[in-house]
Amino acid sequence: MNAVKLVAVFAENKPGQTARVTRILAHANLNIRWVTIASVGAFGVMKFLVDNAQLAYEALKHEGYVTTLLEVLAVEVSDQPGALHAVAECLAFHQINLENTSGFVANQRAILVLEVSDLARAREILQQQNLRVLTREEMLTL
């Protein structure tokens, strides 16, 4: 199964930084499907889901950015209260550390993006719970 990959970028917490990064992605003809930005103090980390993570990584690196690729789990949950809680609880029960979580809704489908310590095990556990873990291709064609 092709894991979903995000490209993560280290950037200063300064006006215009997001615009600079998204401009580089646009120039590389990359479509941004989803983005999350976490900033603390003087810097931040932006994470993008794009149609070609490897290409995004190379484009950003070429422009001198510190960047890396992250494998994440994209899980489809029912679009109703308590859905995230159920997933988090289930992972916690199996002692899998949830490093970051975010979610979005696309075409009436609720998707959770999970960054976890043990990707393979987390996938197994979630699938045992009858949750749908999306492949890279599925994620890009939502």
């Binding site: 900033s39 980390v45 994470k47 001198g64």
Partner: protein
């Protein structure tokens, strides 16, 4: 192999005899010809005849930075003005520079000492020597230029900066030896990496002489790794002819100081007393062969120690440890003396961060150390970065006894100078 085997391997008793003879000659000359020294001798009630042994060196007056400025432009000349052959000035940061004159013999001697050093590191006639130090008034480039020519190298007077052109020269002319500052060497390593140049494959570099700024063993390793060559440390200062005062041999275990040309003392900067053997103190040098502008007991402000044990290479001249700081670079934070090199040492030992850094002093007495994040240190999580900052702050606290704020910045964010790097910015409102 030696350039001047007789002098380089002179048994200590013979070397000391030669030193005394040259010291006495120097003292007689400055007393006869330099009013500044005449006055100092008279004030101390001293005549040249009083110098009977090397131990009498301590009776001689010091020469300081301020003395050189006060005697600007030509007050310390010991030869007629029309017998000088070259003028250099020292890279002073404030006020008038220091003027250093060379006679024909001085130009030749300075080149001889560089030639000794180059041969000692394995450079040979036929090597291609790309000199990336600043040409001009600064001694760094010209003095080594003459030394490398003496050895029989093809010398490329590239000067610093313009990295693209540097790499072009290296490729086109097959440069095997380079001479540059540590900060530019680090910059160049990054530059090669960024432009996909693999030095071991694409270039023929074998050796780098790295000096003009103090640096650490960790920095040496980073340069060796990044440029694919052997780095030799060197020490010099314009007041003492520039480069070539002390140079590492192939052993890379400290820099042989050419004791037939310079008398060395290591003094406690507070008491002016010699430190116990092997301990750190201010390096004080007396020229023994300089014709145009001899200097007695010049206070270099550089902090180092002497290695007295014999070296495997067979040279009998004692060695200087890596310079651990410039007495003048020292900064005082919350009452603690700190050398930027201490901070550099901690940073260079930490994986995951880049080569460029900046120390900012702000507010009342706060220190922020900005350092570039490297890809190896980035796992995509903010939390990891915060942890890395904390870890570095802790390590720095252990080294400098004050806890600074550490701030990771993207590569290319800090000012890069292609020559001497400015590492400390003081914006304190004290």
């Amino acid at each position: 192999m030696f350039w001047d085997e007789t002098h380089e391997t002179l048994p200590r008793p013979d070397l000391e005899r030669l030193q005394l003879q040259r010291l006495q000659e120097t003292v007689r000359r400055v007393f006869a010809r330099v009013p500044f020294y005449q006055r100092k001798f008279n004030d101390l009630g001293l005549t040249p005849e009083a110098i009977r042994s090397l131990a009498d060196l301590r009776r001689l007056p010091f020469t300081t930075n301020a003395d050189l400025r006060a005697n600007y432009p030509a007050g310390l000349l010991a030869v007629p003005y029309d017998q000088t052959l070259r003028l250099h000035t020292s890279s002073g940061t404030t006020g008038k520079p220091k003027a250093l004159f060379f006679s024909r013999q001085d130009v030749n001697n300075a080149a001889e000492l560089c030639a000794r050093a180059f041969i000692a590191t394995g450079v040979r006639a036929g090597d291609v020597f790309q000199n990336m130090m600043t040409y001009g008034m600064f001694t760094g480039a010209l003095v080594t230029h003459y030394g490398a020519e003496k050895v029989g190298c093809l010398v490329i007077p590239a000067g610093p900066g313009n990295s693209e052109r540097q790499v072009m020269l290296m490729r086109d002319f097959g440069s095997t030896v380079i001479h540059l500052t540590p900060s530019y060497a680090l910059y160049l390593a990054t530059f090669l990496e960024k432009h996909g140049v693999e030095p071991r494959r694409d270039l023929q570099l074998r050796k780098a002489f790295v000096g003009a700024e103090p640096y650490t063993e960790e920095t040496r390793r980073k340069i060796e790794e990044g440029l694919g060559l052997d780095v030799y440390n060197s020490y010099g200062l314009s007041e003492m002819n520039g480069p070539g005062v002390a140079f590492e041999c192939e052993q890379k275990q400290g820099m042989h100081l050419w004791e037939d040309h310079f008398l060395v003392e290591i003094l406690d900067p507070e008491t002016d007393e010699p430190v116990p053997e092997g301990q750190s103190g201010e390096l004080v040098l007396t020229t023994l062969c300089r014709e145009a502008m001899p200097l007695l007991r010049y206070r270099t402000r550089d902090v180092t120690a002497l290695i007295t044990a014999p070296c495997a290479c067979g040279r009998t001249h004692r060695r200087l440890h890596r310079i651990t700081g410039r007495a003048d670079d020292m900064l005082i934070l919350r009452g603690v003396n700190i050398y930027p090199q201490q901070i550099e040492r901690v940073l260079m030992a930490q994986p995951g961060i880049g080569r460029n850094y900046l120390i900012e002093l702000t507010g009342l007495d706060e220190m922020t150390v900005k350092v570039e994040l490297a890809e190896a240190g980035f796992g995509g999580q903010v939390e990891q970065l915060i942890a890395l900052q904390k870890k570095l702050a802790e390590k720095l606290r252990a080294e400098i006894l004050c806890k600074p704020t550490v701030q990771l910045v993207p590569p290319g964010d800090l000012p890069v100078s292609e020559g001497k790097a400015k590492r400390v910015v003081d914006r304190r409102q004290l």
